[in-house]
């Protein structure tokens, strides 16, 4: 009986220690992206010597009503995105570059209504999505090199959670604006505001 009590206390203590350790190592980056209107992407750039588990998410980007929906999708590097065509007209998805690198241009072709076509994004950066039959259609996949990213709300507020304490470079991206990167030392709740310009 006494032995059981000791075991229980030990487990509770271990859990408490782990929680304290975890809390002390995982911070939050929050702030506001201003100077632009609408949604922006904020993500943590890769830190030397740190590796991250592969993403298990598989987001879907739909082509519906002659629009990419959602307009901006942020994913971790290595994520497979599925492109769906929900329109009764033929569409296409291609991108002229990834992160400004035109050598990474790619064309997914065309597929019928209701079908999906997957693509794994192995290179970080902004990927402008286009449709070569509906030139007004525009969307973006923002490929973050880390699992620490967020999409701001329309007022520009964002919050990236569970970021291990440490020093990082954080980048804010907005459609049509110059991206901005700044060093951020994460220790608990950390603030990082950005002011972007076109």
């Amino acid at each position: 009986m006494k032995h059981d009590l000791v075991v229980k206390h030990s487990l509770a203590l271990a859990a408490l220690v782990m929680m304290v350790v975890a809390t002390s190592q995982a911070g939050t980056i929050s702030g506001k992206v201003s100077g632009v209107s609408g949604e922006s992407a904020v993500y943590v750039e890769v830190a030397a010597g740190k590796t991250f588990p592969a993403s298990t998410q598989q987001p879907v980007i739909d082509q519906k009503g002659l629009m990419f929906q959602p307009h901006i999708t942020v994913v971790q590097q290595g994520t497979t995105v599925e492109f769906l065509n929900s329109d009764s007209v033929a569409h296409n998805v291609f991108w002229p570059s990834v992160g400004g690198n035109k050598k990474l241009t790619h064309n997914l072709g065309t597929w019928p209504k209701g079908d999906k076509r997957p693509f794994k994004f192995d290179n970080p950066g902004a990927v402008p999505l286009l449709c070569n039959v509906h030139p007004e259609m525009s969307g973006y996949v923002i490929v973050s090199p880390t699992p620490y990213f967020a999409l701001t709300d329309k007022s520009g507020e964002y919050k990236i959670e569970n970021v291990p304490d440490g020093s990082y470079t954080v980048t804010a991206w907005h459609e049509g604006a110059k991206s901005q990167s700044k060093p951020v030392a994460v220790a608990g709740d950390t603030k990082a505001d950005f002011t972007l310009s076109k």
């Binding site: 009503g65 329109d87 009764s88 007209v89 033929a90 065309t110 597929w111 509906h134 030139p135």
Partner: protein
């Protein structure tokens, strides 16, 4: 001599930018309604791609699930449930949420060979002076088109001003189109559509919405009989051209983007001569061409067309879709279209005459049957498109008969028919999505035209050829709604004088280079 002068001027006017201007349209209102670019429907506006053809076939709607694409919701003219109450209520329809109005303006710059003024000969008929270089405003046009729901489409276009003059414009097409009427008769989908109003006939290649600067010569060919007194004269003055609008009804079916396509139209005969007069023309001698009249309401002209388009993709699924599934995105099909058309009408003319008693004045009425018949082809491979058309025109000739001793005719006798033939072949190549290169060859061969011009002493062209030109061109989309076009018309040699052996002297060409800027919004 009026006809002579008319024909002479016709050739001169061909040089002017006013007539060089096409009457093309794209519909920016659809861009607003659907929130999409002009290039969704147009290759190089107003040239339609396969999706644009399907959009038009469907009555200016997306072929499927149209309502899911409309960004500006239509205004309901009655709740849909009202349908169940019909005939005890007005059948519900819709109107577009935005006024479906588009505007278009173009302007031209033309460089004309100085030879154009060789036609102006002192002491003889003098045509207008044609400057070497000339800026010209073109068309300012308004147009509206859309769908009222229940598959009823509408179209109206009107040139508010032409060449800077605000009174020269005219109504183009104006019609209602009842799409897919076939459903009421349990016929295959889209096999029967009814159009009512004023409209361009279902020509193999549209002239009203053509994208070239200059019109297809064969489409603007009237049939004026020979009036040169040195040759047997004809009493034919038929100004009907295939490019002119028809007023009436049209039944059609099928699709422009694949498979069969037919059209049958019944339209007012419209063979008006120069200026219809309240006074009938008085023939001098055997004939002098007479005066045509706008309409003979007792007879309607008939037009029919049938074409079949073979989409050539191996994949049957892709072959039957509106657009082919290319490796890098949807694209226009690789296709071959073969078609034929036939127009039958009656050219009506009046002449002052006498009853058979030889003394009582009367008005003699000649109804001269005529037809236009031809075939066409259209081949497309990716960004290369070549198409052509052949036409043969035939007008029955009824010549006023003047008995000896009288000065006015008492009836008619059959003369030799006035005929012509010709056509065009055009090749388009999209170098880039914004750059199209064009090469075109036009030919019109009319013995009557040749004789009339030879007789007018101010025109000569090689025997057997009355109009024959090569027209290379290029068009550039500055934006999807702004276009710069260039065209060079290389015309056949002409001469004004002959040597003693009858050979032409000092031959020259009246070539023209024309540039155009056009925008729609």
């Amino acid at each position: 001599m009026d006809t002579l002068r008319r024909m002479s001027l016709l050739f001169v006017f061909v040089l002017t930018v006013i007539l060089l201007a096409g009457s093309s349209y794209a519909i920016p209102a659809f861009s607003r309604q659907y929130g999409t670019s002009c290039t969704t429907c147009h290759i190089d506006f107003p040239k339609l791609n396969d999706f644009g053809k399907a959009f038009k076939d469907a009555g200016f709607k997306f072929p499927k699930d149209d309502e899911t694409f409309i960004k500006v919701p239509p205004v309901m003219l009655g709740a849909p449930a009202q349908k169940d109450l019909w005939p005890h209520t007005v059948f519900p329809g819709t109107i577009p949420g935005l006024p479906q109005i588009g505007l278009r303006f173009n302007q031209f710059f033309q460089y004309t060979s100085g030879n154009a003024n060789n036609y102006n000969i002192a002491g003889q008929s003098t045509g207008p002076y044609i400057p070497r270089t000339d800026f010209q405003p073109g068309y300012f046009s308004i147009f509206t088109a859309g769908n009222f729901g229940s598959d009823i489409a509408f179209w109206v276009d009107d040139d508010i001003s032409v060449s800077g003059a605000n009174a020269n414009g005219e109504l183009g097409d104006a019609y209602l189109r009842f799409v897919n009427v076939s459903r009421f008769f349990k016929l295959p989908t889209d096999s029967l559509t009814l159009k009512v109003g004023q409209f361009e006939l279902d020509l193999p290649f549209t002239q009203a919405r053509a994208y070239d600067i200059s019109p297809y010569d064969i489409y603007t060919q009237a049939n004026i009989g020979a009036v040169n007194p040195a040759y047997p004269q004809q009493f034919v003055n038929n100004s009907f051209t295939l490019a002119g609008p028809g007023r009436g009804i049209e039944l059609s079916g099928g699709h422009h983007y694949g498979g069969y396509r037919y059209a049958i139209a019944v339209v007012d005969q419209d063979t008006s001569g120069t200026a219809p007069s309240t006074y009938p023309n008085v023939p001098s001698g055997a004939s002098d061409g007479g005066v045509g009249y706008f309409s003979d309401s007792n007879f309607k002209d008939l037009y029919g067309r049938f074409a079949y388009r073979f989409n050539l993709e191996r994949d049957p699924t892709s072959r039957h879709e509106v657009q082919a599934a290319g490796a890098t995105g949807p694209r226009d099909h690789t296709y071959l279209t073969l078609g034929s058309y036939y127009f039958y009408g009656r050219s009506v003319q009046r002449a002052a005459g006498l009853l058979p008693d030889g003394t009582t004045p009367t008005v003699l009425l000649a109804r001269e049957p005529f037809y236009r018949v031809g075939g066409d082809f259209d081949f497309n491979y990716r960004t290369f498109n070549i198409f052509g058309l052949y036409m043969y025109g035939h007008d029955h000739d009824i010549v006023p008969f003047i008995p000896s001793g009288l000065t006015l005719p008492t009836g008619f006798i059959t003369g030799s028919p006035a005929t012509f033939s010709g056509g065009f072949i055009q090749a388009d190549y999209m170098v880039y999505p914004w750059m199209m290169m064009i090469m075109r060859w036009d030919r019109v061969q009319s013995r009557a035209d040749f004789l009339n011009e030879a007789g007018s002493t101010n025109f000569f062209s090689p025997a057997g050829s009355t109009r024959n030109r090569f027209t290379p061109g290029a068009q550039f989309l500055i934006h999807a709604n702004i276009k710069a076009s260039f065209e060079y018309a290389y015309r056949p040699q002409q001469a004004l004088t002959y040597n003693l052996n009858g050979q032409p002297m000092n031959v020259f060409r009246t070539n023209t280079a024309t540039g155009a800027l056009e925008f729609v919004y």
